[in-house]
Amino acid sequence: MPTLLSAWFNSHQPNLHPPSFYSLSLFRSSHPPPSPNPTLAMALSRFASSSRSGSLLKPLSSAISLRRPISTDTTPITLETSVPFTAHQCEAPSRTVQTSANELLTFFRDMALMRRMEIAADSLYKAKLIRGFCHLYDGQEAVAVGMEAALTKKDCIITAYRDHCTFMARGGTLLEVFAELMGRQAGCSRGKGGSMHFYKKDSNFYGGHGIVGAQVPLGCGLAFAQKYSKDEAVTFALYGDGAANQGQLFEALNISALWDLPAILVCENNHYGMGTAEWRAAKSPAYYKRGDYAPGLKVDGMDVLAVKQACTFAKEHALKNGPIILEMDTYRYHGHSMSDPGSTYRTRDEITGVRQERDPIERIRKLILSHDLATEKELKDIEKEVRKEVDDAIAQAKENPVPESSELFTNVYAKGLGVESFGADRKEVRATLP
């Protein structure tokens, strides 16, 4: 049985790159890092070119202690994705992506926030403050962040139960997340949904679904509504490698292709459907090809820039040509959920291997450092800030009250039409319909 890493390498034949993806040949920066002081820039770049290790930069910057205005810099930087895209029935987009310092730092911050949030949720679960099911997304942050960067709030996203980070990417707050996980009133679903039912209507995030695969027809319905209302927007319907074998997926894809709906089906392939490896569940694990008549694209889901590029391409494609499938090759460090240790069906070596070689946050960190967009200390400061934010949100959520008892009966039906979910002698029999 091939190990996951080697299988991943083999699937990207011809792959001549050494395991480390941060070797010099991959990155071509067209501009030197901006700096207010040209002399300083030259000094810095000389240091930088002499060694790629970030540690050499540290004493210099701390000695000079200049606050470089990097965080808002939008000068374009051109980079290449880690691996080229593999396409099925369409032209793959280019490997070259445009980004900026601002964007990269935003990516770093967002992913660090998500990572911190998921780790904190892990501890809260173990402290029995979160009950039931808790499916953590750490390792897969690049998919949520990259996708959001390619979309607007008019586009819809719908996903399954591993939805905490997607919710955050769509504009959710940490308080809403933790309060909902702990079943409090301030939660995004008023404490009545739980981990698997995060929704944010105003930013077109449609959840948050517990039944594997059922969200895909819903997603195609969203795309139908967008076409019906002529929104010029698209829907991203996310599902996992386990759900990829659900019949309703193919049914929905068929209907979407027939009706030319702007639906993008995104398979977040983390290679395990709970405890079952993909090669044991799918006769054809090439999920991007399984749309048959629908075009597909295979993307390195640990590279946020590749995800962003693919999603931009998919959005354009779907608006013109109908449904397309994206397969995000990603990985989750935790088990399927908190009740799954995650190590009975895969080796610890595999997990640490992926963490070392492909971690999305580390990739961005090295990108930032190698392009001199921030110092290591600044990045560490961001992480500290993020940690504090998460801790504050948890403290606030812990203070939040549990829902009132009367909340049990609210929102069963849409009110105002005389329908009660309990009670025998209704006095008001007639209701006025609009």
Binding site: L218, F224, K227
Partner: protein
């Protein structure tokens, strides 16, 4: 592969010219679609005023001329004083209701198998595709699970789809979507989304359609929190309930009956709706409350004539709202008569009657002089043979016997 109507006058609920007129290129029929039963249909047409026209070749020729439908408070008689109204069949009433709502609100769309170009297997959506176009009247492939899900997804954004199951039984394939997504999304999202879908379709025991096509799903769906269920029985309430269901913000399952599509009645010309949670008083009385819905209403009214001749005065209520029950109307009736008989078409075990019995007992036990009697269909798959099928559902004679027993 659906029933085709031959015409208004000698209309048959189900015609069997199916196999002849079907596309001859298709030689393989998937088993669950074989509606074509036999060459000559032996059927009965029940008019809404209780006249039963039986096929001469048919069985028990119990010719009962009845004027069984009493004046209703909100019935056509009351409102026909202003305008004469127009006569139509039940399926036309449904179509009228649907068309008026589609005209009124551009967000209403219809999706189902063969609803568009074909005109609907029971002609409920006839002519709509020509009028409103392919984007609003959508022909889906045979994929109930996914197109029900798609309807629900579209409803989350504000569209108001009317999802048709060609036969209610096929909606079992979409049970997950109906139960988990349709019923629960309003709650699990903390009120963020409403799902204003209408899921409709014909169900019930027809004329020898076989077990899989004679399903009564009201008993399966009744536990799902968050949905409303209504059953129509006359052209008047069919149109009214269809319109109310479409306008409602809640998911509504509208149960129609295969054998009632050709009922004729005069309905008002003006715009009207029927309250979704209200029961209909069919015939006020004093001695016993008979609760029923859908097709069994006609069996009850037939039995009522016999009962009246025997000196009983039954109060007949068509409960219409299967979830939630209109316990207000039912309770007032129980307080008056003190005896309850429930006549339903779904199965005995876990049926609507069972829930209704529990609800009445819990709330009105003090008012009951006798235990509640519940007549339901037998707990068997509906057999094909005509004689056996007849025994599966409740017949008027059984209702008469039950009332006599209750009123001892």
């Amino acid at each position: 592969m659906a029933a085709i109507f031959q015409g208004v006058g000698a209309a048959a609920p189900l015609s069997s010219s199916l196999s002849n007129s079907f596309d001859s290129n298709k030689s393989v029929f998937s088993p669950r679609r074989s509606f074509s039963v036999r060459k000559r249909a032996s059927f009965a047409v029940v008019r809404s005023d209780g006249i039963v026209n039986l096929n001469p070749n048919g069985r028990s020729a119990q010719r009962l001329v009845s004027n069984a439908v009493a004046t209703k408070a909100d019935g056509p008689a009351a409102s026909s004083s202003s305008k004469p109204g127009h006569e139509l069949l039940l399926f036309e009433a449904l179509q009228e209701g649907l068309e008026e709502e589609m005209e009124r609100d551009p967000r209403v769309c219809v999706m189902g198998e063969d609803v568009g170009h074909y005109g609907g297997s029971y002609k409920v959506t006839k002519g709509l595709a020509k009028r409103f176009g392919d984007l609003r009247v959508l022909d889906t492939p045979i994929a109930e699970n996914s197109f029900t899900g798609m309807g629900i997804g579209a409803a989350m954004t504000g569209l108001r789809p009317v999802i048709e199951g060609m036969n209610m039984g096929f909606l079992l394939l979409a049970f997950n979507q109906i139960s988990n997504n349709c019923g629960m999304l309003h709650y699990t999202s903390g009120g963020q989304f409403t799902i204003p879908v209408v899921i409709r379709g014909p169900g019930g025991v027809g004329r020898q359609l076989g077990a899989e096509h004679s399903q009564r799903l009201e008993s399966y769906f009744q536990s799902i929190p968050g949905i409303q269920m209504v059953a129509c029985s006359t052209p008047y309430n069919a149109k009214g309930l269809m319109k109310a269901a479409i306008r409602s913000e809640n998911p509504v399952i509208l149960f129609e009956h295969v054998l009632l599509y050709n009922l004729k009645e005069r309905i008002p010309d003006e715009d009207y709706i029927c309250n979704l949670e209200e029961a209909e008083m069919v015939r006020p009385g004093e001695h016993v409350t008979i609760l029923t819905y859908s097709r069994m209403r006609y069996h009850v009214m037939q039995a009522a004539k016999t009962l009246v001749n025997k000196g009983y005065d039954p109060e007949v209520i068509d409960i219409r709202s299967l979830k939630p029950f209109d316990l207000h109307t039912i309770g007032n009736s129980v307080k008056k008569t003190h005896r309850v008989l429930i006549v339903e078409e779904c199965m005995r075990t876990g049926g609507i009657g069972a829930s209704l019995t529990a609800a009445i007992t819990e709330n009105f036990n003090d008012y009951l002089d006798a235990p509640i009697m519940c007549l339901s269909s037998q707990d068997v798959p509906t057999p094909y043979a005509g004689t056996l099928e007849e025994v599966t559902v409740v017949q008027p004679a059984q209702i008469v016997t039950a009332v006599e027993q209750l009123c001892q």
